[in-house]
Symmetry: C2
Subunit: 131 residues, 2 copies
């Protein structure tokens, strides 16, 4: 995998952001440093980098995929209202693969806890709408 300017900066910005951005959110950020970059380049690199295991593609919560520059095993919550994703701190030394009794013939590569709920922003919005 060739090291291009675009690839480096995409990876750098994704690792800096802790927000699990969508491709277009990341595109907006990267564009500040590379004004002529194309959204297609962002998509292509996010795909390549996640295939290589350098980043993670998150496919839950809403229509758009989200990306995570932190590949250490950890758990996520996603907001059922807005799709926002956050890390969740869980008890230490958790290996979820130990909890499997029958994987139905699947060869399991990874496992994690996944939560869904309502994010702080959407909790506030709900209160306002009640008034």
């Amino acid at each position: 995998m060739r090291i291009t300017n675009q690839r480096e900066i995409i990876l750098e910005e994704l690792k800096r952001l802790k927000t699990h951005p969508t491709a277009d959110e990341l595109y907006e950020v990267v564009k500040k440093r590379l004004p002529r970059i194309s959204i297609a380049t962002v998509y292509r690199n996010l795909e390549r980098l996640s295939e290589a295991g350098i980043i993670h593609k998150l496919e839950y919560g809403g229509r758009q995929k989200r990306f995570d520059g932190d590949v250490r095993p950890h758990s996520h919550v996603f907001c059922i209202r807005c799709g926002r994703i956050s890390d969740v701190d869980t008890v230490d030394g958790l290996d979820v693969r130990e909890m499997v009794l029958d994987s139905k013939g699947f060869q399991i590569k990874e496992g994690s806890l996944q939560f869904q709920g309502v994010c702080p922003v959407c909790q506030k919005e709900k209160q306002l709408n009640v008034n």
Copy 2:
């Protein structure tokens, strides 16, 4: 929610299938009983039913969403090659919410284990491709 023929049959077929079908897979099955049904009706009903908590929408693994007629808490694996989803049997009495230390302000509604791996079908295909 009005009980229409279409709605009943969509729900019935989804509950019968254990394959976590996509909207169009379910559409093909339902069409055998209701040849004039529209794919839009399938989408609209799957949305309504999942909002009502009668079914579950599964948003991981591939571009298409998948649906589950079984709403009892349980875990899934999805295939990183083809997106196929299967149930996974895990140790009993597991309440994953007990494992949360910090939910980062999210109000957590549900939690589950989620695994990714390679399904039996794709394992075979890989072997064949090697020859």
